[in-house]
């Protein structure tokens, strides 16, 4: 089983062990982490320095080469294909969260894109309004009221949390496609996922560059961006939780 693990996922698995080894001493309290609640900051900063080097030396230049060589239409096909492969895992999590409409929408999407969309290379579903309801086991744990735990920066995968890291591993082990498919199919799908990742790195290039290379403290900015964005993605519809972020600087200009 381990011989065809991609390096990315292997890294996730390794950091999973670390996350668990360390989480023994973390007291899970708030459902969301304040930026100051970062007990593994020293270790996280080391991983961040490595990730930054990895991006600078390999991921960023390779992603630039990828978008220079592969025409935009080809990139869209690759990213559609990779997105389609992620659907079964999202459906499992939609169901675990009791999100039946989401699971239904994703299932219809999977059927339409796998057939009319030629094995997921095209995305006719979106034209019918069947957009992706992306989910992961980290979100399922959130729905099940598991606290987010401490902030973690994972090798290769980047900003995460104890809860999200557990989710990544569970999603990997339980991915329905991982057990059903044969070796060749798996190889192509991994390649597509890596290529789609490179496309994303380039698409969001200016934002990622601003955080990683223009900031006086790229670690602190990555952490802040991840925690706030993740909170927004998970609790985006919960208005009371959202309102807490809406402090009034006119009332308390020096508030921490």
């Amino acid at each position: 089983m381990f011989k065809d693990l991609s390096p990315v996922l292997l890294a996730a698995l390794l950091s999973f062990g670390t996350a668990f080894g360390l989480s023994g001493c973390a007291a899970p309290s708030n459902p969301t982490i304040a930026s100051s609640d970062d007990p593994y900051e020293a270790q996280n900063r080391k991983v961040h320095a490595l990730n930054r080097q990895l991006d600078k030396k390999i991921i960023r230049p390779v992603s630039k080469a990828y978008v220079a060589v592969v025409p935009p239409e080809g990139q869209i096909v690759v990213s559609n294909f990779a997105d389609n492969l992620a659907l079964p895992s999202s459906i499992v999590n939609n169901l675990l969260q009791g999100n039946i409409p989401g699971a239904g929408q994703n299932t219809l999407r999977l059927v339409v894109n796998s057939t009319l969309g030629l094995a997921g290379m095209f995305d006719p579903s979106s034209d019918f309004g069947l957009t992706e309801v992306r989910s992961d086991f980290g979100e399922t744990l959130h729905v099940w009221n598991t606290p987010q735990g401490a902030y973690l920066e994972l090798p290769v995968l980047g900003p995460s949390s104890e809860r999200a890291a557990v989710g990544i591993v569970v999603d990997f082990i339980t991915n329905p496609l991982g057990n059903l498919s044969n070796g060749d199919y798996r190889k192509y799908s991994r390649a597509a996922q890596v290529a789609a990742g490179l496309g994303k790195r380039s698409q969001y290039g200016s934002t990622v560059d601003a955080i990683l290379y223009d900031s006086a403290d790229s670690y602190a900015q990555s952490r802040l961006f991840y925690l706030q964005n993740r909170n927004f993605t998970l609790g985006g519809t919960d208005e009371t939780e959202y309102d807490d972020a809406y402090f009034d600087p006119y009332e308390d200009i020096y508030a921490e």
Binding site: S206, A216, A220, L224, F232, P249, E256
Partner: protein, 201 residues
């Protein structure tokens, strides 16, 4: 200009007339329509600059003007500086605020360049606490849409936005962290940090 003013007056008068019996807040408090109107104009200006295809330098100059027109820059800058603002002299505060305005224009301007071929649309407005939240969506070419929320208030004396959230990321908090890190790098020297700020973003 005259036209705009009279429309606004009419609107205010209309609101005052309708709300007069139940009105608790002062008459000059901004209305939902005014909050939406501010962001509508802001978004139209950003869309115009993004679509103009000007050089980087000219676009950043435009964004700096837009930021100065629609945002409460002194309040945002003072929040960004945080407790350090207490020991800043008046002239340091002035220099910081000016440097901050250019820095934000360059930093966020670079992000807006990714919007080329796309468009920002205002979606909804609601009252939160003492201010308004105006939600907008940036529809981008070949990318997932980006959700932006502007917080608008008239506490500065004018209708201006004082914070924005891009996909949930809070500008005030992100900039306070960044300015703090810039100060740390200069061992707390405000003047040196202000000099860095002029080149940053």
């Amino acid at each position: 200009m005259l036209n705009k003013l009279s429309r606004r007056k009419t609107l205010m008068a209309g609101c005052a007339f309708i709300l007069a019996p139940t009105m608790v807040s002062p008459l000059w408090a901004m209305s939902k329509a005014e909050a939406t109107n501010l962001v509508d104009k802001l978004v139209a200006d950003i869309n115009k600059v993004v679509a103009s295809g000007k050089s980087d330098a000219k676009m950043f100059a435009d964004f700096e003007r837009i930021f100065g027109t629609y945002a409460d820059v002194p309040t945002i800058a003072r929040y960004g500086l945080g407790v350090e603002g207490r020991r800043a002299s008046k002239s340091q505060m002035r220099a910081f605020t000016k440097g901050f305005q250019g820095y934000i224009a360059r930093k966020y301007g670079k992000q807006f360049q990714g919007f080329i071929g796309g468009e920002i649309k205002v979606k909804s407005t609601r009252k939160v606490k003492s201010f308004f939240e105006v939600k907008a969506t940036a529809h981008l070419k070949g990318k997932a849409p980006v959700e932006i929320a502007f917080l608008v208030s008239d506490k500065s004396g004018k209708d201006l936005f004082f914070n924005l959230f891009v996909e949930g990321v809070n500008m005030l908090l992100a900039e306070r962290a960044e300015i703090g890190a810039m100060l740390d790098r200069r061992r707390g020297n405000l003047d040196k940090m202000i000099a860095d700020l002029r080149k940053a973003g």
